[in-house]
């Protein structure tokens, strides 16, 4: 399946600076943790609420809106027919659409579903009655509609979220840095996970999270998606230097990046 290009371009119709932009949040198949990151702003949340007009945010408020949206945040991946139609309808009403969090930008952990035969995995959970519940292969948001901005991460990294939001509200383009996580990890002076005896996806994964997981003693799981041009030779060097099976790395990558292969 052909997928939309990932480069971010300035959207044609940016919201006017004078009026308070109407912002809405919608969630699809996901854990809703990325929406929750917003409530973790603390009192800063009140400042953000002062700058925009949040017209729909199901996780926190009951209010509804039936007009057009200046900016919509789409959280979650698309995993059934109803969701696909709902997303298209939202896109039609939205001037700017932001794919928000790994499930939206890469398919996230939901993509692992695509590693199985669909009927088999559905049956494994629901037994013989599995057809009662609609379920399709997982798609990223840009495999269904046009995306204007990407905020990667599982969960999203708040400083990056603020940065992208500022760009989106001003109608400016935002380009996700295309360095590997290692670039940030080195600056944070972490001991390389490979030196500590375990395989880490930092060398292949887009930076922008300030090497969040490695700073905390864990490996990078690749939640932000792959860099555009991974240094293949360097990667092969890493794999051979540490005597790793390439399948180990591939398998680790499939946790967040299975949708990359497109939908069967």
């Amino acid at each position: 399946m052909k997928t939309a290009k990932k480069e971010t371009k300035a959207p044609a119709k940016a919201p006017k600076a004078a009026a308070k932009p109407k912002v809405a949040f919608f969630d699809f198949a996901c854990c809703e943790g990325c929406q929750l990151q917003i409530t973790n702003f603390g009192e800063l949340l009140l400042d953000v609420l002062g700058a925009v007009d949040v017209v729909e945010f199901r996780e926190a408020i009951s209010e509804k809106w039936d007009g057009d949206y200046d900016v919509v945040f789409i959280e979650g991946s698309i995993g059934d027919h109803h969701a696909e139609e709902r997303l298209k309808k939202i896109r039609a009403r939205a001037k700017v659409l932001i794919a928000y969090g790994s499930c939206a930008t890469t398919g996230g952990v939901n993509g692992m579903k695509n590693g199985f035969e669909l009927d088999e995995i559905r049956q494994s959970v629901y037994g013989k009655d599995y057809k009662l519940f609609d379920s399709t292969y997982t798609k990223r948001v840009d495999q269904v509609v046009k995306v204007d901005y990407y905020i990667n991460g599982c969960p999203v990294y708040i400083p990056e979220l603020v940065e992208v939001l500022k760009h989106a509200l001003r109608g400016l383009p935002y380009t996700v840095p295309d360095n590997p996580v290692c670039a940030e990890c080195k600056l944070n002076e972490n001991v390389c996970m490979y030196e500590r005896g375990v395989a880490c996806l930092g060398p292949w994964t887009k930076a922008g999270c300030n090497s969040w997981c490695v700073n905390n003693g864990n490996i990078c799981y690749g939640c932000r998606g792959e860099v555009k041009n991974p240094a293949k030779n360097a990667a092969n060097d890493v794999i051979s230097k540490y005597n790793l099976k390439p399948e180990l790395i591939t398998k680790k990558f499939e946790m967040y990046n299975k949708c990359k292969e497109g939908v069967k």
Partner: protein, 442 residues
């Protein structure tokens, strides 16, 4: 006002893991024809996706079942993994996990009680109007939430999808400075917490009662059981966590893609009220004092008061967390326990074939994870039973009793009480805050 004779109610809201849920109720000539609770989710099939993954990845993956309860899922997951592997966590590891669970309860309950449940009682559609009318309280609540969140950032790297807490132990342990920082953050909450508790004491809830079976962890020691214990019920039943299937008896109902559960009767209640009903005598003395002041006693069979049980648990977890931190400050930590595991490339944790269960109390009730692994630690089958699923049947039974009792109150009150009942269960932040589209045919 005359009784509503004909009523056609369709309540739509979205749950977190269980997806979209609907309530459908029909009344004809004053007689209830239908009162059902449907969960129509996008099945995410986590249990299926876990197959073939390393047991050491299970925490990372299952944390993503729910952003709100990610610490709870992580705890159930690491316990199930260790149970399968035959690994016994160290005393320090257990202590830190209990601390994390206290933070999870504080964060979740504060959000639910004040930003989601309180607007109902104060007669507004969400906390947004409260920013103007109750600005001081909203600020206090947001500050409290932020402080707990900051504690989690220190302890596990972040609150949503914890990083450092894994099967086998901790990848990073809090430094002395970081223990002090958490104590300071918690102590800094005291004033705001006192203020918002005052507000909680003024909230009034509908008077509704229905006997049901309350299910929660129970134990023989003196601590309010949240992380460890057997599964007990107010029907006098008790089984080992290993036998969680006896207490859940999952079944599929075509109306819901969430699986349903039952034990002794037709429905069970899990959550703060169940814990309070089974373990009130083990609460922290400060929490006990608050319960007494509120006249709140076990066994309470008013589901609306689940919110009050949460308020009591806020006080319990706050003091319990402080006690753990002060103990850690006094006795220090053994930093040699920090581990690097990955997918166990270097065999940091011994692996065997196994069948492990982890049962943990999370804010919304008892949560079970169960993994069967092969000799290489690869997951063969997985099963996760989520609190909201366990409550689905109980919500439906409550509706069946509540609706006839309030038919005379007019549609606005019926609408509000139905919404409040659903929110009282705190099925998930997302669902409880979502609009309820209720239509009446009269």
């Amino acid at each position: 006002m005359a009784n509503v004779k004909d009523l056609d109610i369709k309540v739509e809201y979205v749950t977190r893991v269980e997806g979209h849920g609907n309530i459908v109720a029909n009344v004809k000539n004053g007689k209830i024809e239908k009162c059902e609770f449907h969960v129509v989710e996008t099945p995410r099939l986590f249990e299926g996706m876990l197959r073939g993954r390393s047991i050491f990845e299970a925490q990372h993956i299952t944390s993503r079942i729910c952003g709100i309860c990610s610490c709870g899922h992580s705890l159930a997951s690491v316990k199930a993994a260790e149970d399968a592997l035959g690994v016994t966590p160290t005393e320090q590891t257990v202590k830190l996990r209990k601390l994390l669970l206290d933070y999870e309860f504080l964060d979740s309950h504060i959000l639910h009680v004040y930003l989601l449940a309180a607007p109902d009682v104060l007669g507004v559609p969400s906390f947004i109007p409260l920013i103007a009318s109750h600005n001081k309280t909203v600020r206090q609540v947001l500050r409290l939430k932020k402080a707990v969140n900051d504690c989690c950032d220190i302890l596990v790297g972040r609150h949503i999808h914890p990083i450092t807490m894994i099967a086998g132990g901790w990848t990073k342990l809090p430094s002395k400075k970081e223990i002090d920082a958490q104590i300071k953050l918690l102590e800094g909450m005291a004033e705001d917490l006192g203020e918002v508790l005052k507000l909680a004491k003024t909230l009034t809830f509908p008077d509704f009662h229905r006997k049901t079976e309350y299910v929660a962890l129970v134990s023989d020691d003196a601590e309010y059981p949240l992380l460890n214990g057997d599964i007990g019920s107010t029907e006098g039943k008790r089984v080992s966590y290993k036998d969680y299937k006896k207490s859940t008896n999952e079944y599929i109902d075509p109306r819901s893609s969430a699986k349903w559960t039952k034990w002794s009767g037709e429905s069970v209640f899990v959550g703060a009220l169940a814990r309070f009903n089974l373990n009130a005598d083990k609460l922290h003395p400060k929490a006990k004092a608050l319960a007494k002041e509120l006249g709140f006693k076990p066994v309470c069979d008013n589901p609306f008061l689940n919110t009050v049980a949460q308020v009591v648990e806020i006080v319990h977890c706050y003091h319990h967390a402080l006690d753990i931190l002060k103990d850690l400050k006094k006795n220090g930590l053994d930093y040699s326990e920090a581990i690097t595991v990955g997918v166990n490339e270097k065999g940091a944790v011994p692996v065997r074939a196994g069948d492990g269960v982890g049962s943990v109390e999370v804010p919304r009730g008892i949560l079970h994870h169960n993994y069967v692994t092969d000799k290489n630690g690869m997951i063969k089958t997985a099963n996760c039973i989520i609190p909201t699923n366990q409550n689905v049947s109980n919500i439906e039974h409550d509706f069946a009793k509540l609706l006839p009792e309030i038919l005379g109150e007019g549609k606005d009150k019926i609408r509000l009480k139905l919404e409040m009942l659903v929110r009282a269960y705190d099925p998930c932040i997302s669902c409880s805050a979502h609009y309820l589209d209720v239509t009446f045919v009269e």
